[in-house]
């Protein structure tokens, strides 16, 4: 019998792994020496970074959603049938339909989800742009906003570490353009001692805050929201009044991971170089669902997917373990509605953001469309 690869999750990481395998193992897939089965919870593929633009009315649903089947190489078998149990002893994944998928190699790329319910009152009191429904609701709230205090508050852990800064700068621009500059106040809060986790980004952002008159409080971890009084309280003991609360809710991994006993809160203990699950050489973990202390970002999932696909191809063709992941992450940072910068770093190289420019902002807008080529494994 041929080698069976199962990929769970048809998001950024899983899709790139699948398409790279299709290219690297084309002969083996055609002859049946290798099969790749993908299980996904949805028949749609969603480009999540688009949510930020949806909130500002700058992208529409049909620009950020595609059919998953159409993104996958025809040699990949797609089952729209969510996994409900992973058994790494018997090397089998069970799907919701009851069907089981035995594997020789497994790739877990189930991503992460927001858990606003972890902060009492947050669901009732806050807006967010971390899912499509939330982004649309926020878009409406921004259209109706007539002034007052907007608080941007950040939960831990979360994906896309630069999104809280991006939304803050974009809001400031939006309201300035709408002639509300005198009527609103932006208040940004961040969980650690500086305004962003990456020190060079924090130094740069503080200057931008001061220039724009954006107030901020650091060491602010959301504890509770009182939607009636419109107040948010921090674990550290402070209270802020708000008229509009925009939160980046805390995240967890998928229930499947915890229910299968693979990792607390849905984060799988993963070797930071080989990207294999601790103790399992034939189980790879990609993207948000690892417990590696680096950014949960699409670019992380992308670079990890490159590594994992290469490792799998190498193991199947030559029986040797493949390449090591060096921790590479790349993030565009929108610094206004018209300008942006970017950061990249890896395990050994600290980030070093450059001067924001219009060109980088345009590049981000271009990438929003090029993403579909990334997912296909072309870019």
């Amino acid at each position: 019998m041929g080698k069976r690869i199962v990929i769970i999750g048809g998001g950024t990481g899983g899709t790139i792994v699948a398409n790279l395998l299709a290219r690297g193992l084309r002969t083996e897939l055609r002859s049946g020496e290798v099969t790749v089965n993908m299980l996904s919870a949805s028949e749609k593929h969603v480009y999540q970074p688009g949510f930020l633009y949806v909130a500002f009315g700058r992208m529409q649903d049909d620009e950020i959603i595609r059919d998953q089947r159409g993104l996958l190489d025809p040699l990949i078998n797609l089952y729209v049938d969510p996994a409900v149990k992973i058994d790494t002893e018997s090397q089998t994944v069970t799907a919701q339909s009851g069907r089981s998928f035995p594997y020789d190699y497994l790739v877990i790329a189930t991503g992460s989800r927001i858990v606003p319910e972890e902060v009492p009152g947050l669901k009732e009191g806050a807006h967010w742009f971390y899912d499509l429904a939330g982004a649309k609701k926020l878009r409406k709230a921004l259209k109706e906003f007539e002034g007052g205090r907007i608080v941007v508050s950040v939960g831990v852990p979360h994906k896309c570490p630069v999104a809280p800064l991006e939304v803050t700068f974009m809001l400031d621009d939006l309201f300035s353009q709408n002639g509300l500059k005198e009527k609103y106040e932006l208040f940004y809060t961040y969980p650690i001692a500086r305004v962003h986790v990456l020190e060079p980004v924090a130094q740069w952002a503080v200057k931008a805050f001061e220039r724009r008159g954006i107030r901020y409080e650091t060491f602010f971890n959301m504890k509770e929201v009182d939607p009636l009084k419109k107040q948010i309280h921090s674990e550290e003991g402070s209270t802020l009044d708000y008229d509009l609360l925009i939160a980046v809710p805390p995240h967890k991994g998928m229930p499947l991971i915890e229910e299968s006993g693979l990792g607390a809160d849905g984060w799988i203990p993963t070797d930071k170089h080989s990207l294999t699950m601790a103790g399992k050489e034939n189980v790879f973990v990609v993207g948000d669902t690892t417990n590696i202390p680096i950014s949960k970002a699409g670019s992380t999932a992308h670079f990890e997917a490159d590594t994992v696909a290469e490792s799998l191809i190498c193991m199947i063709k030559e029986g040797c373990p493949g390449r090591r992941y060096d921790g590479k992450v790349f993030c565009f940072v929108e610094t206004s509605l018209e300008e942006g910068t970017y950061v990249w770093f890896n395990y050994n190289t600290p980030p070093n953001p450059g001067e924001p420019s219009q060109m980088i902002h345009w590049f981000k807008l271009a990438y929003n469309r090029l993403y579909w080529l990334s997912a296909r494994g072309i870019l």
């Binding site: 831990v156 650690i192 986790v197 060491f219 202390p293 950014s295 395990y347």
Partner: protein, 78 residues
């Protein structure tokens, strides 16, 4: 330090989300009574982590410098 560590977070060489974010994450999910050690190669966190622990009212058990990194230990008490 001669302590029994229940959980250890190795955030060395991590620029993002960094040692304190990792500690905050773990503080949320572990039960009261857990002793957590954070390994960090970032000098800033050797200062920030104790300050944060103090601010949120958890118990700071101490820090030790090893070969180019810090081991910072905290007990979740509430």
């Amino acid at each position: 330090m001669n302590l029994t560590i229940d959980k250890s977070v190795d955030a060395r060489d991590s620029y993002c989300p960094g040692p304190l974010m990792e500690l905050i994450r773990m503080m949320k999910s572990e039960p009261v009574g857990t002793v957590i050690e954070v390994l960090s190669s970032d000098q800033g966190s050797a200062k920030d982590i104790p300050e944060w622990i103090h601010k949120v009212g958890q118990e700071y058990l101490g820090a030790e410098e090893k070969d180019g990194f810090w081991s910072i230990v905290v007990k979740k008490v509430k």
